[in-house]
Amino acid sequence: MEKSRPFNANMLLMHGALVVYMIIALFPVFVIVINSFKKRKSIFREPLALPDADSFSLIGYETVIKQGDFPLYFQNSMIVTVTSLFFILLFGAMAAYALSEYRFPGNKWMGLYLALGIMIPIRIGTVAILELMVSTGLVNTLTALILVYTAQGLPLAVFILSEFMHQISADLKNAARVDGLSEYKIFFRIVLPLVRPALATVAVFNMIPIWNDLWFPLILAPGEETKTLTLGSQIFIGQYVTNWNAVLAALSLAILPALFLYAIFSRQLIRGLTSGAVK
């Protein structure tokens, strides 16, 4: 028992630190959610107080639902995020597989070139992207956003996924070749299921910035039909007056789908599937 005590103290310290970090990280979210259920005056008077019978109000949510077309914004955000993630994962995994599995001239340079995008923010090219979208007639379409986000997410996806794919044993792929699977089938039926945790990681990394992005929706798709949730919420923020109830309510609602997507991906993160594949 004596010996196990330092270990416990360590665990306590570790968990203590994690709990503190969690509180710091969750605090703003907590404040947003509680204040979204309060009257405007109570928000300013006691921002940290929980809503009580006196201060409770759904005025924010009512405003959000009445004003603007929030279900549509939701839908737009959802479409853009999910479609972009799908393409990032698909193309990222395909590129990563080609880079890790096949030997061809310039393989290394290609990998470096693809990874370069991690270091160069895509926003630097905003003007060029806008010109491109104007000339292709894609301004004010969700396609424009999906294309940009896919491009933005690919470098990191290729980088992370090719590392993971390197770890899949060559025997496994050769066994599949002997079993008569085509290279595409090997990719979809053997390799992809095995890098699921990595796919989930990439998805989570990319999802939040896309969901929260204000920049590209504002520039490429500001039309009423194509507004995303983040952009839609901006109507409540004025230069002089801001409808805080509505802003907080909109933000609280915006957390939910992100939370839902995260829950899906994080289950995959935890699963260690590779165990038992090869000795």
Partner: protein
């Protein structure tokens, strides 16, 4: 009919030549073992037969058909990998049926073949388990089962036992031998372990540095090795090599003596100092030194011999092998 014939197979990776002019025939129903130290090219050769690697030169012929440009799945082969290479996300049944589904076999045919393979390998209880839930030996059996259900013309085994512990290795070796008798399909088996080669093979191909050193039945190779390498590689404990000048000053050759052909004789020609004694119960191995030369002596039965004891050693004259300076057998 020849199940497999390799003609003039060369393989180089860049400027490195790993296989040189390999010519091997595997007859119908034969179990041929490729044996050699690591890096001798035996696994590469197996991969060339499987079609996972292309030969730089030469022809691979399986069951009378040249398959140089035929993909692995169309060669009529099945391969068992050293690492088992089971699909971790599929259960045992899924692992065994993937190839059959790929071939668009009927459901009845698939379940019949799986039933047959699992009967042979005793896998009934594991069909719904995942590879991570199986022990090493069970995984190995699944890997063999996955090969059996394809009903190949030729089985390829790539060091299938090297990941198993010693006891399991012996059992699985016997299982593979039994399997070969039941299926009577040709098999090519790669190993670096000479015991596996000796116990399993109908025919052994000894490889070194990408070249075939000698081909023949286990006893042929054991009794009549063509060179010093083959003589030293097969047999355990391995053959002792001594300069023949110990016996005759003018003799430049190397004398090869198997440990079991050396005896303790009061007036034997060698005087040796015992360095270590291995009591195995059935046998007693003496590790001795004749001058500078370590020599292993295998005595049958139990002997009471102590370390640093001095003994005189003799040998059976007709069991002595002589090699010239290039390692070639001369008599």
């Amino acid at each position: 009919m020849t199940a497999l014939s390799l003609t003039g197979v060369h393989k180089s990776f860049g400027s490195v030549e790993v296989l040189r002019d390999i010519n091997i025939d595997v007859e119908e129903g034969e179990l041929v073992v490729f044996v050699g130290p690591s890096g001798c090219g035996k696994s590469t050769l197996l991969r060339i037969i499987a079609g996972l690697e292309d030969a730089t030169e030469g022809d691979v012929n399986i069951a009378g058909q040249t398959v140089n440009h035929v993909p692995p799945s169309k060669r009529g082969i099945a391969m068992v990998f050293q690492s088992y290479a089971l699909y971790p996300h599929l259960n045992v049944r899924g692992n065994m049926t993937l190839a059959l589904k790929q071939q668009k076999q009927s459901k009845q045919e698939i379940s019949a073949r799986v039933a047959e393979a699992s009967r042979m390998l005793d896998l009934h209880d594991y069909l719904d388990r995942y590879p991570s839930e199986l022990s090493g030996g069970q995984r190995q059996r699944v890997a063999i089962g996955r090969a059996i259900v394809r009903q190949p013309k030729l089985f390829l085994f790539d060091e299938p036992l090297s990941n198993l512990d010693a006891a399991l290795r012996v059992n699985t070796r016997i299982e593979i031998a039994n399997l070969h008798k039941q299926l009577s399909t040709s098999m090519v088996y790669v190993t670096h372990d000479q015991t596996e080669a000796m116990t399993l093979a109908d025919k052994i191909v000894v490889l070194r540095d990408g070249r075939v050193e000698q081909t023949g039945s286990p006893m042929e190779l054991y009794n009549n090795p063509q060179n010093q390498f083959v003589a030293g590689f097969l047999g355990s404990p391995s053959m002792n090599f001594l300069p023949a000048s110990l016996l005759d000053q003018s003799d430049p050759r190397t004398l090869g003596l198997r440990p079991e052909d050396i005896t303790i004789e009061a007036n034997g020609p060698f005087t040796a100092v015992v360095q270590h004694v291995e009591h195995l119960g059935g046998d007693t191995n003496l590790i001795t030194r004749i001058g500078q030369h370590q020599t292993t002596v295998r005595l049958f039965g139990q002997h009471d011999i102590k370390d640093s004891q001095e003994v005189n050693l003799g040998f059976l004259k007709d069991k002595a092998y002589y090699f010239d300076n290039d390692g070639r057998r001369v008599s």
